[in-house]
């Protein structure tokens, strides 16, 4: 992990894209503007962070903007990690997909779409990956109930539909 001063220098090099830096428990996080994700990752790749270890989503309910996407980068030569974070609101959860330059993000962005509803622009195949394709709702949002919805089986379907009307 770059230390606190290294992190500040890194953030300065990223220019206006970096909104905030957090150095917590010896781990570095840079909060960036969601529109700048591709240039930021490119810039970090030039600095040696060439391995995208993980792309995962977070729901910051009830703080706005709610949905966050965290990109964990690893520099294998210097054994350094840095996390890049961006936050989008729940009304317009769109982020550029980085799959073209970082092929590892393919399935991981699909999972974030499935679980949180973040739409990745220009993703080659944005479909649900873990839930059935016709599932409604994004399960890992904080306001989605843990028990989900009742599962309707074929023999109950008519009764359930009638009960709904």
């Amino acid at each position: 992990m770059p230390d606190a001063t290294g992190l500040e220098l890194l953030a300065k090099d990223l220019g206006g894209a970096a909104l905030e830096t957090v150095y917590f428990r010896e781990q570095a996080t840079i909060l960036i503007d969601p529109a700048e994700i591709r240039p930021v990752l490119r810039a970090l790749r030039d600095r040696g962070f060439s391995f995208l270890a993980s792309v995962h989503g977070v729901d910051h309910y009830p703080e706005e903007p709610r949905l966050g996407v965290v990109y964990e980068l690893l520099d294998m030569r210097r054994v350094d990690r840095v996390a890049v974070k961006l936050r989008v609101g729940i009304d317009a959860p769109e982020v550029d997909s980085v799959t073209a330059e970082w092929p590892t993000a393919n399935h991981q962005e699909r999972e974030i779409y499935d679980m949180f509803g973040v739409v990745f622009r220009d993703h080659p195949d944005l479909r649900r990956i873990l839930m059935p394709e016709d599932y409604e709702g994004h399960p890992q949002r904080r306001d989605f109930p843990v028990g989900g919805e009742p599962v309707i089986f074929t023999r109950d379907e008519r009764k359930w539909l009638e009960a709904r009307e």
């Binding site: 917590f24 428990r25 781990q27 996080t29 060439s50 391995f51 995208l52 270890a53 993980s54 995962h56 989503g57 977070v58 729901d59 965290v70 964990e72 294998m76 054994v79 990690r81 996390a83 970082w102 092929p103 590892t104 993000a105 393919n106 399935h107 991981q108 999972e111 679980m115 649900r128 990956i129 873990l130 839930m131 059935p132 399960p139 890992q140 904080r142 989605f144 843990v146 989900g148």
Partner: protein, 423 residues
């Protein structure tokens, strides 16, 4: 196989030998130009004896040659991460353990490591060494099942029973230290839940004496099996650049020649006290993946031996009573211990707000745990970065242009664990 000598090859054989992506209109026999060739999409699984778990593959075939693979997953999705948000930190450990169900100690280690980092809790040396012993035993157990099921897929059925025989010994050791064979809840935040019983080191040493010999046996059986060698050598290689782009880590990356191992690069839990090597392959084909994992068993045996020799005295879990349960005999005498016990069991400890990502080296690659806490006693987000989930994306790149049988061997060598993939 040189095609310049010998009898002239038929058109079929010529096509077979050059598995390049030729356009379908380019039919070598002009006389049969009216025959149309189609790409066949075949559905493998989710119930299939050769996919490891409920993995569904949509395989696009041209004859017997694989042109494209689309994995479809989610058939054992359990909502572990969502369930974990609903439970106290302590109760998340059994839930998270069931994710990658062959390397349960690793799941618990990643999560406990993340929470320990958040809370700045120091794990005592004895706890760290005990963790290392159990982690490496679990690594051997995981590789044994991998070996057994892969050999089963490739046709060597008896290896499966031999590997299960060894695994029974390991599970006996787990039962001795924690009481359960699988999903033991042995790792807790701050250390391990209980110290090892008195006969444990002796039994482990007995096992360590047997294991290298048995691994030699497996190597001897499999390495002299002509069919296995033909199926594994030279099939589905992938270079380390593409693998890094795909985010692959672990034995797959090491088979391609890149010696990246988090135990050496970024040691956690006293791994830097031990002397062990990292097996690395050269070509990156299926045989290298197989050989790397087999060699890792020997290295794990070495690590366990060193950990047992150097096992320090001391507490097995942190002494901070706000995090770890006090020992039961204290409950009878100390009021504070009683109150701590009560608070820990009913509500659980509170974790200061923040986020951490804790990566460790699991038998399949980099297993990371991201924990975000909002200051209460339940985590706000637990995400496990599972290695198999990311490694699966490499399957399409590896198996493109090879035969179905090679694809089956590649899936076996990829070592996917669907519990981790689907979480």
């Amino acid at each position: 196989m040189s095609s310049t000598e010998g009898p002239p090859l038929s058109a079929y054989r010529r096509r077979e030998q050059s598995i390049t992506l030729s356009p379908l209109e380019d039919h070598p026999d002009g006389a049969h130009a009216d025959v149309t060739e189609e790409l066949l999409t075949l559905n493998f699984g989710p119930h299939h004896p050769a996919t490891h778990g409920v993995l569904r593959l949509l395989v696009t075939l041209q004859g017997e040659v694989v042109r494209d693979i689309k994995p479809i997953i989610g058939y054992v999705h359990t909502g572990i991460e969502k369930t974990a948000e609903d439970k106290a930190y302590w109760k998340v450990i059994p839930v998270v353990e069931r994710m990658d169900y062959l390397s349960y100690y690793f799941n618990a280690m990643a999560y406990c490591g993340a929470v320990e980092r958040l809370m700045e809790v120091e794990v005592p040396k004895r706890g760290q060494y005990l963790r290392v012993i159990h982690l490496e035993l679990n690594r051997i157990a995981s590789h044994l099942i991998w070996l057994g099921t892969s050999a089963l897929d490739l046709g060597a059925v008896s290896i499966f029973l031999y590997c299960l025989r060894e695994r029974e010994l390991i599970l006996d050791l787990f039962e001795m230290s924690s009481g359960a064979r699988m999903h033991t809840r042995y790792f807790q935040v701050g250390g391990v839940i209980e110290d090892i019983p008195p006969g444990f080191p002796a039994k482990v040493r007995e096992f360590l004496k047997i294991m290298p010999k048995r691994a030699d046996e497996y190597g001897a059986i499999l390495n002299s099996n002509e069919i296995l060698l033909q199926r594994l050598r030279g099939t589905c290689p992938l270079d380390s650049e593409t693998l890094l782009g795909l985010g692959v880590s672990g034995p797959l990356l090491r088979a391609a020649g890149n010696p990246w191992d988090l135990r050496k690069a970024d040691p956690y839990s006293s791994y830097d006290d031990f002397d062990f090597k990292i097996p690395v392959g050269t070509v990156g084909d299926n045989y290298d993946r197989f050989a790397v994992r087999l060699a890792e068993i020997y290295e794990s045996v070495k690590i366990i031996g060193q950990a047992l020799d150097g096992l320090p005295e001391g507490p097995h879990i942190t002494e901070d009573r706000k995090v770890a349960l006090p020992p039961r005999h204290e409950l009878a005498t100390s009021m504070e211990a009683l109150i701590h016990h009560f608070k820990l069991v009913t509500e659980g400890f509170r974790v200061p707000p923040g986020e951490v990502y804790n990566p460790i080296e699991s038998p399949r690659g980099e297993l990371g745990c991201y924990v975000r806490s909002d200051g209460s006693s339940k985590p706000a987000r637990v995400h496990m970065r599972d290695p198999s989930f990311v490694n699966l994306q490499a399957l399409a790149h590896m198996a493109r242009g090879s035969y179905i049988a090679d694809m089956v061997a590649t899936v076996a060598m990829l070592d996917p664990i669907l519990g981790g993939i689907d979480r």
